[in-house]
Structures are given as C-alpha cells and as structure tokens.
Symmetry: C2
Subunit: 205 residues, 2 copies
DNA sequence: TTGTGTGAATTAGTTCACAGCA
DNA sequence: TGCTGTGAACTAATTCACACAA
C-alpha cells in the first residue's frame, strides 16, 4: 500500500491522531482543520493537504468525522496491530523512555529491554522485562519485535545495529550520536541531542 | 550576521564539526568532502554545498583545512563561548541526558537542573547541580542560561515554558509530547518519541 | 457565510554535471 | 587526474487562492 507519503506528513498524522484520541474525541464527533491547526503549530491548509493523503473527506459545515479520521490514520500508519518495540540499553536514558512507553500508549507496545548488565537481566525495569543482550537473537524473532530504540553507549551502537539488522529489524530510532551504517531496507531515525541543542542555540534569536 | 542558513545545513554543520574534532583532527590536517560524506549518510556534493555557507574554501588537491573548518563552524553556530544550558526535570529521562552532557561536550555547558522534588534539590545529580523549580527565576538570569531542555511531565510543560520565556530563554528543546505555545522569537525544537517510532514503523519496509 | 478540496505558485532542500584549478 | 565551487535542474514541502458544497 501507498508506502510513500511525504515524511513530514507522516509525522503530522501521528500527531493529529494523538490529539484526536486524547482530547477531541471525548468532546465532539467532528473536527475542523482549523481546530487541529490551532492546537498545533500547523496551518489549516497544511492540515487539509495532509488529510488528502487519506482518502476520507470532510464536510464543509461539520468538518471531519473524528472516529473515521483516527481509524484511517491508524490504518495508514500500519498498525491496526500495535507496533512491537525493543529498547536497547537500560541505562538512565533507556529507563526514561521506558517510563514513557509504560504510560499506556495504545498503538505502541514495548516488549523487551536488553542490557549487558547481568544484575538488570531477568527483572522488570520500568514496566518492561529486561533480557541480556545475548538473548536478543532468541527474543526478537520469538516476540516478533519490529522496531528498536537504541539507547546504549555510542561505542556499542554499530555492533547492536548489525545484530538487529541480522535479526530482521526494519526500523531503528537512534539516540546515540553514532552515524549508523545499515542496508537500504532499514529505516533509521536519528535523534541527536547535541545537534538539537546547537540548532536551538543558532535559531533562538 | 547571516542568521539564516537552511535548517538542515545547520544540523549537518553541527555533525561535521563533531566528526572533525573527534576523529579527523587527530589523524590529519586536511579533509576532503568525500571523507566527511563517507563517514555520514550525506553526499559529497551536499557537504560542499553546506560548506559554501561558511566563507572558507578548500583546495582541489588537499581538501579543507580541518582547523579552519571547525573554527568557522563554531563561530557560525555562535559559540566561541560555550552555550549555557538548563535541564528542566531530573527524572530518569532528564538524568539520562545529564549523563550525556557530563561526558565532556566542549561547546555545551550544562549549568543547572531544576526539579520540584525537594529531596533532589541542593544535590549534584549526574554531574549537575540541582535546584528547586522555584529557584528558576533567580538562577537562570544569574547564570546567564540561554537554552533549556524540557524533560518534565507533559502536564507541566507549558507552565515551565511560560516561565522560561519570561526569564528570557530564546530556545527550547522539548522532549515532552506537548505542543508548546511560545512567542515568535523563541525557537522550539520538538523531539517527539512517539512520532519518531511511528515514522520508523511506517518507513521501515 | 464558512470550511473543504485542490490546482497553481512559491519556497526549501538536494542532486547533477561540469568548468577550472593544483 | 581528482577535487572544489557552483550554476542549473530537479524533487520535496508549503502556502496561496478560489471554485464548490452545505
């Protein structure tokens, strides 16, 4: 299916859906593009343009049907089934993100966290079962994990990535400052804290 | 001064500089655009295009002078002086990032972390002095803090932001899933973990 | 009226391709 | 020969502006 919406549209659809589910759906049945726009920093024209990629349409006097909209975004983002995720690294950064996922994310399921510290393994850490990194090759296929979040030391990042790719992982969110080498069928999203801070330093006045 | 390089160029310059300082500068005096390209997932044409925004030039047979290059990037990114940063929130996510900054980032200085938990205040947490959020209005101007990283609970994010803006902060890296409302002179960089994961789920095959 | 749906225009970002230099 | 510097071409993303519908 249309695996080529603009990257930016995909990002915004994710955001729209959360807004729809977390705040609009309890208040109303229909939503206008300008209501979504007001709640984000996006123009209403942009919202409508994004919604064109879904095939549903709104009505000029009521807007878009919320239930239909969020259902369709879920379908397009590809998880009527929740996405099955693994965290690599149970240090403070990894734990911080585990906390985050434990707070009821209906479409994202944090299945396992892997660490090389024996003391952490076998326990539940921030709501998620911790395994030793040696167990990755068993647990990842067994648990049908699709996505990994890298929050391990930078020097282990490429090695962990090679293993994840070997085990069939198709997408990685990389919180380490290492540039990962992956085959072209693996999608990597880099989150580089240093760069983000420097960018904010540059553009903030 | 030219406060309008493309956003993407600024991001890449930040990355180039780290590579230059952390790995190339110890090995060689000059670097070719294709060497930087090979080490990242960027084309050499893109690297040269980015470097056009700095006013220095390379030599066809030796490439770019590393010392000159990283110095000029530092100057353009605006910190010959290190950027002075505050972390808002000393939970696990905040602590994870504090660890990160403690590991010798020459151009970024983590000055303070603010939390509302009295037990944490007055102590050093992950290498950074912790203050109560009540002390923000004193500490931020006193310490000339320019940038804040928001790693507090989502429900406090807007309130913290309003206070930060009032205290003259010009840039915020927002790790909460809240869409912040700020005046136009404040630059916000959103890092939305849920969106990143969903994007990776969509584009990863 | 007010908001949707969408071509057309605009702006941002990337890649091509090659002249010119050391 | 191999790389830089850069117009020109191209692709991605955003905004404009307005016909149409309820």
């Amino acid at each position: 299916m249309s695996s080529s919406m603009p990257r930016k549209t995909v990002e915004r659809l994710s955001l729209y859906r959360r807004l729809l589910e977390e705040e609009f759906s309890s208040k109303q049945d229909y939503v206008f593009s300008h209501e979504l726009a007001a709640r984000t920093n996006i123009t209403s024209a942009q919202v409508r343009r994004d919604l064109m990629y879904l095939k549903i349409s709104g009505s000029p006097n009521r807007g878009y049907r919320i239930h239909e909209l969020s259902g369709e975004i879920a379908r397009i983002l590809g998880h009527t089934e929740p996405l099955r995720i693994a965290m690599i690294g149970a240090g403070r950064l990894g734990q911080g993100m585990l906390d985050f996922f434990t707070k009821k994310k209906p479409n994202l399921e944090m299945i396992a966290v892997f660490d090389s510290d024996d003391d952490k393994c076998g326990r539940i850490i921030c709501g998620t079962r911790c395994y030793h990194v040696r167990q990755m090759s068993a647990v990842i296929p067994e648990q049908k994990i699709q996505i990994a979040i890298l929050a391990c030391p930078s020097e282990d990042a490429q090695m962990m990535t090679d293993e994840l790719v070997r085990l069939g992982i198709k997408g990685i969110v990389n919180f380490t400052p290492t540039t990962l080498k992956v085959p072209e069928w693996v999608y990597v999203e880099d989150i580089d804290i240093t760069t983000s801070v420097e960018k904010v330093g540059y553009f903030g006045k």
